[in-house]
């Protein structure tokens, strides 16, 4: 158990002058579950591998507990890692797979046995201890990989997209299992995924990465409700937040010549972000052309366009929709971003939106 701290961490590969990861500052408290999320190539895996010691750190400082670990071997860092393809030793039984790391650390035999038995019990792997990994299903292999991490009782767990190779249903089950285990063991965890749903459901705090830089750090709901940039807004949430070009006129935010909501004034163009569930289909409001409807059972998602800008709306009604519908939004739930930088324009909107209500 330990806290983890990344100070201005960066990575530049030899031969390239562009940093794969740059200026990452994260303080992770003891027992916290942090999810690194971002599209492929955003540097999240590189960052994790730097913490693991599998990649050299070219900039900044990584601490696990009170030790700076930049120069330490992976084995000396007191971490355990779960890989996407499990990386189980194919020629060893489940038991040996879990025990291998402990054996290398000269742990007494009796203790190894006790820890393996405990992990097997927690993960319900008891009947499979003497099997080889190839005789196990994907979910079971995943559990063995977790068992291998658990028996080590490390300061931190590192997960590198551990659920990506599983089918959708198993992914949901394993997600819950990982979260439950982590809560129970209270081990600091760093988890990498490109799946925003996995990120939202697992994390105590999310770290959204883009192009090797941190876009936003925060609790899942905080990130969801107040995305710091258009990138985060579009990445977190499903369906993705609709981003529209807009401008202000007379205290109203205008989209395609229609006043959408009174929020105050600001010069120049802005990017307006609308969550699908914050939009309502009404008889008045801004006209939206309906392109197609996704029926999800509990609700449906209406995809369409205001002017020529695509918008998605969650609708609970079951009635057939006209070719053009009207949509309204609660002014408090608008997201506004500077068009030039993509940054959130938070304070001004909050200050001016409230009196308008």
């Amino acid at each position: 158990m330990a806290h983890l701290s990344l100070k201005n961490v960066g990575k530049t590969y030899g031969g390239s002058n562009q940093a794969a990861v740059a200026g990452v500052d994260i303080e992770i408290a003891d027992g916290e579950f942090i999810v690194l999320v971002g599209p492929s190539g955003c540097g999240k895996s590189t960052l994790l591998r730097m913490v693991a010691g599998l990649e050299t750190v070219t900039d900044g400082e990584i601490r696990i507990g009170d030790r700076v670990v930049n120069q330490l071997d992976p084995a000396e860092r007191d971490i355990a890692m779960v890989f996407q393809n499990y990386a189980l030793y194919p020629h060893m039984s489940v038991r040996d797979n879990m025990a291998y790391g402990l054996k290398n650390r000269k742990t007494p035999k009796a203790e190894i046995e006790a820890r393996v038995a405990e992990a097997a019990r927690m993960l319900e792997l008891g009947p499979y201890l003497d099997r080889k990994p190839r005789a196990l299903s994907g979910g079971q292999r995943q559990r063995v990989a977790m068992g291998r991490a658990i028996v080590r009782q490390p300061a931190a767990f590192l997960f590198d997209e551990p659920l990506s190779n599983l089918d959708a249903k198993l992914r949901v089950t394993m997600r819950m299992e990982i979260r439950r285990l982590q809560k129970r063991l209270g081990t600091t965890s760093l988890y990498v995924t490109h799946d925003q749903l996995e990120a939202m459901t697992l994390a105590d705090r999310l770290v959204v990465l883009n192009g090797g830089r941190v876009e936003q750090i925060g609790a899942p709901l905080e990130v969801y409700r107040k995305p710091a940039s258009t990138f985060v807004a579009a990445f977190i949430g499903s369906p993705a937040m609709s981003l529209l070009d807009a401008r202000f006129e007379n205290g109203q935010v205008m989209v395609d010549g229609h006043a959408l909501a009174p929020v105050g004034n600001a010069p120049g163009p802005v990017t307006l972000g609308l969550r699908a569930e914050d939009l309502r289909i009404t008889s008045t409001g801004v006209p939206m052309r309906v392109d197609y409807v996704e029926e999800l059972g509990a609700h449906r998602i209406v995809h369409g366009a205001i002017g020529d800008q695509p918008v998605a709306v969650v609708d609970n009604g079951g009635a057939a929709l006209a070719e053009t519908v009207h949509v309204l939004v609660d002014p408090a739930k608008l997201h506004l971003f500077e068009t030039s930088t993509g940054r959130r324009m938070d304070t001004r909107i909050q200050a001016e939106a409230v009196p308008a209500q």
Partner: protein, 280 residues
């Protein structure tokens, strides 16, 4: 089920006969006396002298010094074959391990240099190799017989390709599990390479077993004679009116076939098992 096609079977049966009949003739002829063979040619039916011939071949003290037995030659050949196979596997695995897992300058260049030696057969370097061994005083030793031929481009190449196919995560998992380079090699790579080792063992054992030219040069002492040389020396007594001991030559040839066949049978099972069961 596919329909049985008589023509296909005919071709297969002919192929089997073509390969098997000479072996059978060797075996059968070896059970006849030398005179019978000399006058009657090869036999396809068993004769009556089998037991005596094989016993003589294995235990009869022959050669100039009069203490070379078939058994000794068999032992020598086994030492050659096993030494070759095991030595080559060990050496080429380590070479491949270095080439794949360690970053050092000119690794690729080195690999291609090793690979290029495939173009140079033993015969090309036989004079310098002989001289080196002679200077080191290793003529007439097992070391001299085996060591100069141990470096194997084929083996190194096979193992390199195999190691490259081992997922990197396995190495990373081992590093996190606290396994150093040597531990990783012994605990992970060697067990994973079992099937590769079986395959290379087959090839290299037979290569070593069948060596003729190199032992011929390296050994003058008869106690180092291998079976391959033994067969030759029996047929060499072609002097005067003496009839060569065809039956003994055939018996030795049969004996010379047994170990390679055994190796293939034993290791092939492992080899095929490795091919069909995905280990990774």
């Amino acid at each position: 089920m596919q329909k049985i096609k008589p023509l296909d079977h005919l071709i297969l049966i002919l192929g089997v006969l073509f390969l098997f009949v000479p072996v059978l003739m060797t075996l059968m002829s070896s059970t006849h006396g030398a005179v019978e063979i000399h006058s009657g040619g090869l036999y396809i039916t068993p004769g009556s002298d089998g037991a005596a011939t094989y016993a003589k071949v294995l235990t009869h003290r022959g050669g100039f010094t009069g203490d070379v037995t078939g058994l000794l030659m068999l032992t020598n050949s086994l030492i050659m074959g096993l030494g070759f196979a095991i030595g080559k596997i060990a050496l080429s695995m380590m070479a491949a391990y270095a080439l794949v897992y360690f970053r050092f300058r000119f690794a690729t260049l080195l690999f291609w240099m090793i690979f290029a030696t495939l173009l140079l057969p033993l015969e090309v370097r036989i004079m310098p190799s002989y001289q080196v061994m002679s200077t080191l005083g290793l003529l007439n030793t097992y070391t001299g017989l085996i060591v100069p031929l141990l470096a194997s481009a084929t083996g190194t190449f096979f193992f390199r390709q195999f190691f490259k196919s081992v997922p990197d995560e396995l190495l990373e998992a081992a590093r996190i599990d606290g396994a150093g380079p040597i531990k990783f090699f012994i605990d992970v790579l060697v067990p994973l390479s079992k099937t590769m080792m079986a395959a290379i063992f087959i090839i290299m054992f037979i290569y070593g077993w069948n060596q003729y030219l190199w032992p011929l040069l390296m050994t003058t002492d008869e106690s180092f004679y291998t079976l391959m040389r033994g067969i030759k020396s029996i047929l060499q007594v072609w002097v005067g009116s003496q009839i060569p001991d065809y039956n003994e030559a055939f018996a030795l040839a049969v004996l010379a076939m047994v170990p390679p066949v055994a190796v293939v049978v034993i290791f092939q099972r492992m080899f095929i098992k490795g091919l069909t069961e995905s280990d990774k």
